[in-house]
């Protein structure tokens, strides 16, 4: 890199809500420093770039690429490969890129069912001919193509090599600034970089540590959905039967959600050493179900436990809200045509 040239910054948006792009602004006046330090090389959200511009860059031209979004279709994957090739550092920015996030919840169903919902079976639709996307259509003028819509949503690192991860939905401002600082520091002052594959801007302790609510020994005899209960202030939400992923979720967010009475949803991903965040949370939650004991008949125990289990409406959606693509099973086995993972 020539001394007079500023490092190049890219940010790309694949399958995600776009909140991550906006979150960059959350670093407030630091954005000016970013502007000072970096040249923007590719940032479709804020400036007009074309893919061909990127293709024209030499390899590793971009210093750091903040990639947000999951890999939903062939275009996402193609862009991931392209930007990987052109970037020195590929950062999985936000939960979608890191572990699939909300888009990956569609892994619980089939492509067909997703299409049905989006293009056919939806009250706000007007699609009398039942037209659904096809990768290639011949029209009078010739052939039209669109990217292939994948069956399974993947995280960024399931298609390209990723240098750093920034979890969060979206990542918290100090975290964003931290990762940029690290790279800038390395580039400008030669400070050592964290090892490749590091998850940046998180702690190594679960959210509960940062949460001020009072926690007690847990015995939960029913679970509540958020609308079913007004939480008692000051008391651990999980203790009150409100699903809170805090115990199974990596800290660093300062327990934002629990502190305003909403259970942690798990966006910072699993703790180090955990292979599957959802399974671990499921295990923890089931362990403290206050039903059944060793003096009861088996059928009675089962009935009691079942009653509590019945109050957890959607375990897969709850425990894998952010980590479906990174989970052990990654998706549902879909039988039949309704697209539900029905055994």
């Amino acid at each position: 890199m020539a001394n007079n040239e500023k490092p190049k910054l890219a940010m790309y948006w694949s399958s995600s809500c776009g909140g991550c792009e906006i979150s960059v602004l959350n670093i407030h006046e630091h954005i000016l420093t970013v502007d000072e330090v970096f040249d923007v090389a590719f940032f479709p959200c804020i400036a007009d770039f074309k893919t061909k511009d990127v293709e024209a860059y030499p390899d590793d031209y971009i210093t750091v690429c903040l990639w947000n979004g999951a890999i939903r279709n062939a275009e996402n994957e193609e862009m991931a490969h392209l930007l990987r090739k052109k970037s020195m550092f590929m950062v999985a920015y936000g939960s979608c890129a890191y572990e699939g996030c909300i888009p990956a919840l569609s892994n619980l169903t089939s492509k067909e069912a997703t299409y049905n919902t989006v293009y056919k079976d939806n009250p706000s639709l007007d699609n009398p001919d039942g037209i659904i996307p096809k990768t290639s259509v011949k029209v009078a003028e010739g052939e039209l193509t669109i990217p292939e819509f994948y069956h399974t949503v993947k995280s960024l690192d399931q298609v390209v090599d990723v240098d750093y991860y920034l979890p969060g939905c979206p990542p918290e401002p100090p975290q964003i600034w931290a990762v940029l600082q690290v790279i800038v520091g390395a580039l400008l002052e030669g400070t050592p970089l964290p090892p490749k594959g590091s998850i940046v801007g998180v702690t190594n302790v679960a959210v509960c540590e940062e949460c001020d609510l009072e926690k007690n020994e847990k015995v939960i005899s029913r679970f509540y959905r958020p609308y079913e209960i007004v939480p008692e202030p000051g008391i651990c939400l999980l203790d009150q039967g409100i699903m809170c992923m805090g115990p199974a979720t990596r800290g660093g967010c300062e327990a934002l959600c629990p502190s305003v009475g909403m259970g942690c949803r798990g966006c910072y991903g699993p703790m180090p050493g955990v292979e599957d965040q959802g399974a671990k949370m499921l295990s923890a939650v089931a362990s403290v179900i206050g039903a059944g004991n060793e003096n009861m008949e088996e059928a009675e125990i089962e009935a009691e436990i079942q009653a509590v289990v019945d109050t957890i409406a959607d375990p897969a959606g709850t425990f894998y809200r952010f980590s479906m693509a990174h989970s052990l099973l990654q998706r549902a086995k879909v039988n039949g045509s309704n697209g539900k993972g029905e055994a």
Binding site: V205, K215, E217, M271
Partner: protein, 674 residues
């Protein structure tokens, strides 16, 4: 044998595949498994051998550790319950930490369950690969030393508990013997004669009871119950409630004048099995140990109505031994080991209405009959009907009342055949012209001198009817049956229904677990089976130990047992404890959980996971901690921890996840032909 060096090996694993003579090799292709194992990652050497557990087999392992610098060892042979210890010791001799060893069970779980050689060999490979992948993640561990408090708690003062207490006390160790009744002695004290020798039960038991009462090394706590058990092997703290006797044990001489003068009699449901009465201030029986009486508060006129005090008035001691103000005492005892000898209950025969007990007055239970034939019992040993005078001319004895019965207890109560025979003998002896009908399903007399006793009864003229009694009724069908109890039974030897009219019926009820044994097992944090009997560590090889270290069981609390067996178990449990005490410290398996304090978020999910209360929460630091000494290593908290910051030593996530991967080595997509 095959040897191969992998340059990128992290560890140097030795794999040993045992033929077990032909036990394994006749189904599993052990040579192939060994050859194949040599090709697996991290494997330095792999061999097959005729008998790995032989000293030569063990030497192979030792040698390879020394010469080839093995860092891990896998042995594919029998169940770890059989030889894990053997091979761990071999590793240790070779200079390898014993926990860097893993055993693969290709005998009980493989070669013995199928004759499909191909499938068995594939399975053996999978299991071996699982072990290889697991053992790489093993960590050296040290056994945990625990100091043993030389005092012992014995719960239950029946013959098993008495034996345990005396054995230990005679060996010079202090024993606390806790009994909930006012006297020790248990069921044996109620019996008249013991089979098959017909020794007088009291004559052989009483001296032992006296020994217990007088022994310097025994603190006898009767009329007392254990309320709480804290701690673990070597260091238990026991809370005992010593119920108020209302008699001061320091002043009382046991003269018995108070009992004599007490004006009120009540039915004695416990010792006399309802056959006799006792005073309200009482000793269960004359030879009771200790000799001090107890006031039965519920029936005492002074306690209920505020008047009487006859006992106090007549008590000759100075100061007076009667103390109406006495209160329950709570004692704390420190012990290193616990022996449970809590005995059994008799099956409630009223649960079988067709046997008529309670409705037909001359139907008796075995215990009632024991009291009746006992010379010191309510009828002075005379065999009479409920009217206390008529001698029965015919007696039926019914076996298996509640035992070997789908509706009640499926198990055999083991002692009933023998004591039923004893009853038959006693009736013959005391009423020589009486006809005795003994209705049994199968006659079970396995024991020294037992079958001979049965033969003796055959000689004595007992009528044996092989068949389960259907009912006992007073509904006569023919004039000869009028006024009799009719025993309806299918005599399976002659293939006919019989109706046997008799004057008296004795039911031999099942021995069942003590009421509340489940609660007791929880109190002591040990296992208890469906029937309520305590579970031994191993049904054959470790019958007096339990899964909880430091807690032993003896006698009928573990399952139906006769006197000699209870005595053997009592002594065996004592010997086990004495061995531990003399060692001073014991080494415990290091399979224990621990929490990474730096990574614990204090979520408190694990806090009520532990049945041993080994997990404590530090409010200040906001972290939980496992007390290693209390932890039994089940791993339930490890599975529960949502942060995976609890590690279960020797069963870590890494080890188990790698084993899963290894065990499925042939299921990877590239290998599967779907």
């Amino acid at each position: 044998m095959s040897e191969k060096k992998h340059p990128d090996n992290k560890e140097r694993v030795g794999v040993y595949v045992c033929h077990c003579g032909t036990n394994i090799s006749k189904v599993v292709d052990v040579e192939e498994v060994a050859r194949w194992a040599g090709e697996q990652p991290n494997v330095e050497v792999s061999r097959d051998y005729k008998f790995m557990c032989s000293s030569l087999g063990q030497e192979l392992i030792e040698q390879d550790i020394k010469e080839k610098g093995l860092t891990r060892v896998v042995c594919a042979s029998c169940s770890p319950h059989m030889h894990e210890k053997t091979f761990r010791t071999a590793c240790e001799r070779g200079g390898l930490n014993p926990f860097l060893f893993e055993m693969t069970n290709i005998r009980e779980h493989d070669s013995w369950i199928t004759d499909d050689k191909e499938a068995a060999t594939i399975k053996a490979k999978s299991l071996v690969r699982g072990s290889i992948d697991r053992v790489v993640h093993h960590e050296p561990l040290d056994q945990i030393p625990v100091e043993i408090n030389p005092n012992t708690l014995v719960v239950g003062g029946g013959i098993a508990g008495i034996t345990s207490a005396l054995e230990l006390a005679d060996a010079g160790y202090h024993v606390y013997l806790v009994e909930r009744e006012p006297s020790i002695g248990g069921h044996m004290a109620q019996l008249d004669k013991t089979f098959p020798t017909l020794d007088c039960s009291a004559c052989i038991l009483t001296p032992k009871m006296v020994d217990v009462g007088q022994h310097d090394n025994i603190t006898l706590l009767t009329w007392s119950e254990v309320e709480q058990v804290d701690g673990f092997l070597g260091n238990f703290t026991i809370t005992v409630r010593k119920k108020a006797r209302y008699v001061n044990e320091e002043h009382c001489t046991g003269c018995g004048i108070c009992i004599e003068k007490c004006p009120f009699n009540v039915v004695d449901d416990i010792f006399e099995a309802g056959m006799g009465t006792r005073k309200v201030i009482y000793r269960p029986f004359p030879q009771a140990v200790p000799k001090y009486p107890v006031i039965d508060k519920e029936n005492c006129v002074y306690f209920q109505k505020g008047k009487c005090k006859a006992c106090e008035i007549f008590c000759p001691t100075e100061p007076n031994s009667i103390d109406f103000e006495q209160e329950d005492e709570i004692l704390q005892i420190e012990v290193g080991n616990i022996i449970l000898a809590t005995g059994y209950d008799l099956f409630d025969v009223k649960r079988i209405p067709q046997y008529g007990y309670g409705k037909l007055e001359n139907v008796f239970t075995s215990l009632e009959f024991e009291r009746m034939v006992n010379a010191a019992g309510p009828t002075d040993g005379k065999i009479v009907l409920r009217d206390q005078e008529t001698k029965p001319k015919s007696v039926a004895i019914v076996h298996c009342v509640g035992s070997r019965d789908e509706n009640y207890h499926k198990y055999c109560s083991k002692v009933c055949c023998m004591y039923s025979l004893k009853f038959a003998h006693l009736v013959h002896e005391r009423i020589p012209d009486a006809e005795i009908y003994d209705c049994y399903i199968d006659m079970r007399t396995p024991g020294k001198g037992y079958e001979e006793f049965y033969n003796r009864l055959l000689e004595e003229g007992t009528h044996f009817i092989r068949g389960k009694v259907a009912e006992i009724t007073d509904a006569a069908r023919i004039p000869e049956e009028e006024g009799k109890l009719i025993v309806q039974v299918e005599d399976t030897l002659i293939g006919r229904q019989r109706r046997v009219p008799v004057d008296m019926v004795i039911l031999s009820p099942a021995m069942e677990a003590r009421e509340g044994s489940k609660e007791v097992s929880q109190l002591f944090k040990m296992g208890c089976d469906f029937d309520g009997f305590f579970i031994e560590r191993h049904p054959k090889l470790d019958p007096v130990a339990t899964m909880t270290d430091g807690i032993l069981i003896a006698g009928a609390c573990q399952g139906p047992k006769d006197v000699p067996e209870s005595v053997s178990q009592g002594a065996a449990a004592a010997a086990r404890v004495a061995g531990l005490i003399s060692r001073g410290t014991v080494m415990m398996e290091p399979v224990r959980a621990s929490i990474d304090q730096d990574a614990c978020s204090g979520c408190r999910i694990c806090n009520n996971m532990c049945p041993y209360n080994a997990i404590i929460f530090h409010e200040e630091e906001n972290v939980s901690e496992v007390i290693t000494a209390l932890c039994q290593g089940c791993g339930t908290c490890v599975a529960a921890c949502p942060s995976s910051v609890i590690t279960g030593a020797h069963f870590t996530n890494d080890q188990l996840l790698s084993q899963i991967e290894g065990i499925l080595w042939d299921m990877r997509p590239e290998k599967v032909t779907a």
